[in-house]
């Protein structure tokens, strides 16, 4: 089946429903008798809640209930937990102040949840919400990490003196100092990794439902990982037995990390459904998404690279302060530590690396994983450092990278920052990218731009990421509260079709197609006879969901393992039917054969026999339905080289991306069309960060200044070019499919490539993102003046 199997750009099975308006997103679902929730949110960045008068709201038309933090406390509803314990440099766990779904003592950011109104219609709930009288005592606020760490800064939590969540180190500082002492040259950069707001196009939504007859709950949620949400809600927040909550995440309109986490709104809707004896629905509007979705990035970094006289890297020191926001979101603590500092080796043989990360509470929305999660920040540090080093050392940017690449014969390669890369060929990606962009032709293109009065620049990003998250024992030893395996159940139906239940969750990635290709080829079943079921804890084995480019590497591997079990069992049945010994039965493309004979049985016939076992082997159970749990042996390490070419109009400061070449090594690829689509989308988000997007809070009031699409600049079609995507392939050595994952690469590679290109065009070493026309214009003209 070459046209639908592994390696084919099969058109997506999910598209018909999306293209005809038949997708079923959470807000499309309405439950009988449902009420609507409106959240009263803090207008202040930091305020003590002295009292809440809800009497007027309670008597407003249509209102069923108004709840506040004290009501949840009375029901022993717990704090929203952070699931990853980071141990600081003194051996102490990170500071973990409580994060209640409805604030109990203070509001700590603009948008913090203070009360919920539940009414017959959303309009009635919202109108009544305006009648909830909250007596706030305003407190001074702090929004950026430097200010929050200063002495005398407003304190957010009693549990976290000085607003410090943790002060964490990785690597040996004395060894790093020794490497720097030997250096012929040290390159230093100061970087701000700008804060981003994820902005999946579907706003978050939830419907909580309670069934008194069975004393059980159902939650419809826009979640990337319904099982994890169920686990957190039951075990840590609501105190329910896990068999009493079913979480359904139907079609989900993008996530990019922001829909991993356990949020206040879905917690409140679930809890309140029992209180008001009716389903409770909440759909966020975009303004709420801006203040209440977990944000991303927000690092301040000073980094240094020590080199010998030939530009060979001797050591790296990185000092980063990361913004956690007002509370710790579900996996926030791991992002600037284990998903960041462990990637600082990049693609290079830097022998010694020391990283110090301080994470800080501020009066801003919580910050957590956003597409790439720590790895874009690491790549930005490494690739900005390397680029500046090349300019200072007067080395070609491709050449300095090549001199330091880990070579193909060095794998498996143990980095000084904990990870062991299994395989890669970085020089090959560089060669291909240089060829695709026509690097030799750049000087002529630059001259042509200059002749038009334009500035042309070229920028590289040789990124690496740790994906396929993650070996449970490894992450457990690093503080993760969960295992990061994945499950799959492969069910043959009696008449030969196959239903796959996966713990991965698709919110745009096309799993229904990619996984179907995998199963179709492995079992020899036509792709249209394969159905993928995801997103319902009521029907799927416990699974861990989709993030960290893990679905194919971990979830797909689980499917492959379950298919192996199906084939193994089927061979016994086929052997019985063909009166042969199991050892003589071969399986190929859906057919079992007895070697050296013309006897054969199709897998559909075997499946039918398994369910209608009239003529059946004695020692085999009926049925053909196998489950596998796959725990990866290592992370996977997708890597590649992106090259961005820009042309800047110094009169307007507008940067045009005139070419973009992405050469990525994702290992084996199942659906090239889907993979390229993932690369395009990732680059767009990375370019968005580099050119357009920036979350800004007012430093005094703590108000979010970029709280709508009027103020937060999302990439539009006319901000972006078409992209040229190439691939190289070194197959992952430790999973059954040889795959690595592709979902985050573009977002990881793009910011450094873009800023390297712009600074190259401007003839400067550094600038901060986003490179808005105003900023670029100022730099272009300062530079021109200085040159005069």
């Amino acid at each position: 089946m070459p046209d639908t199997g592994i390696g084919a750009s099969v058109r997506r099975k999910e598209d018909f429903r999306f293209l005809t308006g038949q997708g079923r997103y959470t807000d499309d679902i309405n439950r009988p008798g449902q009420l609507h929730a409106y959240f009263v949110r803090s207008p202040h960045a930091h305020a003590r809640i002295k009292g809440i008068d809800r009497s007027k709201a309670e008597s407003s038309p249509g209102v069923h209930a108004v709840f506040i933090g004290a009501d949840m406390a009375a029901d022993n509803v717990g704090s929203l937990p952070c699931g990853w314990v980071v141990t600081d440099r003194h051996g102490e766990p990170h500071k973990a102040p409580p994060h209640f779904p409805l604030a109990r003592d203070k509001a700590r950011y603009v948008g913090d949840h203070v009360a919920v109104v539940i009414a017959k219609t959303y309009a009635q709930a919202k109108e009544a919400g305006e009648q909830v009288q909250v007596d706030y005592e305003e407190l001074p606020a702090t929004v950026n990490v430097t200010a929050a760490l200063a002495s005398g800064a407003p304190q957010l939590h009693d549990e976290a003196p000085g607003n410090l969540c943790y002060d964490w180190v990785l690597g040996d500082e004395a060894e790093a100092d020794a490497a720097f002492a030997k250096a012929a040259h040290v390159t230093k950069v100061d970087l701000i990794n700008n804060r981003l707001i994820p902005n999946a196009m579907e706003p978050r939504a939830a419907i909580g439902e309670y069934d008194g007859g069975t004393d059980s709950y159902t939650l419809y949620s826009t979640s990337q990982n319904p099982h994890l949400l169920k686990l957190i809600l039951c075990a840590f927040v609501l105190g329910l037995n896990e068999n009493k909550l079913r979480v359904i995440a139907p079609d989900v309109g993008g996530g990019f990390g922001s829909k991993i986490f356990c949020y206040a709104e879905e917690t409140v809707c679930t809890w309140a459904a029992k209180k008001v004896k009716a389903p409770v629905k909440w759909t966020g509007d975009r303004s709420e998404a801006f203040t209440s979705d977990a944000h991303g990035r927000d690092h301040v970094t000073h980094a240094q690279l020590a080199m010998d006289e030939n530009g060979k890297f001797l050591g790296m020191k990185v000092d980063t302060t990361a913004n956690m926001g007002a509370y710790l979101s579900s996996f926030s603590t791991s992002v600037p530590t284990y998903l960041y500092a462990t990637l600082l080796a990049g693609q290079y043989t830097t022998p010694v690396i020391f990283a110090n990360v301080k994470s800080v509470f501020t009066n801003t929305s919580p910050v957590d994983a956003y597409r790439g999660a720590g790895r874009p920040e690491a790549t930005y540090v490494v690739e900005r450092l390397v680029e500046v080093a090349a300019r200072e050392m007067k080395l070609d940017p491709a050449e300095i990278r090549r001199r330091n690449f880990i070579q193909p014969d060095q794998f498996p390669y143990q980095t000084p920052v904990a990870l062991q890369y299994d395989i890669g060929n970085y020089g090959q990606s560089m060669d291909k990218a240089l060829e695709m962009i026509d690097y030799d032709g750049f000087p002529a293109r630059k001259a042509a731009s200059e002749a038009k009065g334009k500035l042309r620049g070229i920028g590289f990003s040789a990124y690496i990421e740790a994906c396929g998250i993650a070996p449970s024992a490894v992450v457990g030893s690093l503080g993760a509260g969960v295992g990061l395996w994945e499950s799959a159940q492969v069910r043959f139906n009696a008449t030969g079709s196959v239903t796959i239940f996966t713990g991965s969750h698709s919110h745009g990635q096309g799993h229904e197609t990619t996984f179907s290709q995998l199963v179709s080829q492995t079992l020899g079943v036509p792709i249209e006879n394969v159905e993928i079921v995801h997103g319902d804890t009521g029907s799927i084995p416990m699974g861990m969901g989709t993030y960290g480019s893990r679905s194919l590497a971990v979830g797909g591997s689980a499917i492959a393992r379950a298919c192996d079990k199906i084939i193994e069992k089927s061979k016994k049945i086929a052997a019985h039917l063909m009166e042969a010994s199991v050892e003589d039965v071969e399986f190929d493309n859906g057919t079992f054969r007895v070697a050296g004979t013309d006897k054969e049985k199709s897998i559909a016939e075997v499946a039918f026999t398994a369910y209608v076992p009239h003529n059946y082997p004695e020692d085999v159970e009926p049925g053909l339905d196998e489950t596998a749990f796959y725990d990866p042996l290592n992370f996977t390490y997708p890597a590649g080289v992106h090259i961005c070419e820009v042309e800047i109009d110094p009169a307007t400061g507008v940067t045009e991306i005139v070419d973009w070449v992405a050469v990525d090594d994702f290992g084996k690829i199942i659906n090239p069309m889907v993979v390229e689509g993932q690369v395009h989308g990732g680059i767009a988000q990375g370019v968005g960060q580099a050119l357009l997007e920036n979350c800004v809070y007012d430093g005094d009031s703590g108000q979010l200044l970029t709280g709508s699409y009027m103020d937060y600049c999302m990439p539009r079609a006319d901000n972006l070019p078409s992209f040229r995507v190439g691939m190289t392939e070194t197959a992952c050595t430790h999973n059954p499919l040889g795959v690595k994952g592709c979902g985050e690469a573009g977002a990881i590679a793009a910011p450094a490539a873009t800023i390297n290109a712009i600074t190259n065009a401007l003839g400067i070493l550094s600038m901060d993102m986003p490179a808005t026309p105003e900023k670029v214009w100022r730099l272009a003209n300062q530079h021109a003046q200085a040159a005069e």
């Binding site: 997506r12 598209d15 429903r17 293209l19 308006g21 807000d27 079609d251 745009g508 689509g677 767009a684």
Partner: protein, 155 residues
């Protein structure tokens, strides 16, 4: 409550709405046509684009009462006799969608572009899409899909 009547996807419909009811709410809540989506509250994202009397309109920015008597086409009404519109087919063929949330608005907007300009170049397509935000695709394949649909529809 005032009553509103319009033709939606060829079917005459009537409903009681509040004065403030938006067209998108009327479509989603009264008619259960949930293919039209709401992705923002500032008329920027374009997930809610439908056709009103043949023109693409953000249905979050029009009161239901303003559409009284109008001919409205939503994404549910685009395919005819079970056959996808060439624009829908081109989006499928060119992988012009991922999560699918912006897709109905994108497709409706793109159909209107080709009604006005049957042979747009890449720059014209990108400029036209200024009012439709997609967070998944980087627009690359959306642009390709619209170019491909334009070619098909020109015959």
């Amino acid at each position: 409550m005032p009553s509103v009547s319009m033709t939606v996807n060829g079917r005459a419909v009537t409903g009681d709405v509040e004065g403030r009811t938006l067209l998108v709410q009327f479509l989603r809540e009264n008619l259960s046509l949930t293919g039209t989506h709401v992705g923002c509250d500032t008329s920027q994202c374009g997930a809610c684009v439908v056709h009103v009397d043949g023109e693409s309109v953000k249905s979050c920015t029009l009161l239901a009462l303003q559409a009284d008597g109008a001919e409205v086409t939503t994404i549910e009404g685009l395919a005819k006799n079970g056959e996808l519109h060439p624009m829908q087919e081109a989006f499928r063929e060119n992988h012009g969608l991922q999560c699918g949330f912006c897709t109905p608005g994108m497709v409706m907007s793109a159909v209107d572009l080709l009604n006005k300009n049957p042979n747009p170049d890449e720059g014209e397509i990108r400029e036209w899409l200024e009012g439709n935000i997609c967070r998944c695709t980087g627009y690359h394949n959306i642009v390709k899909a619209i170019q491909s649909a334009a070619q098909t529809m020109r015959g």
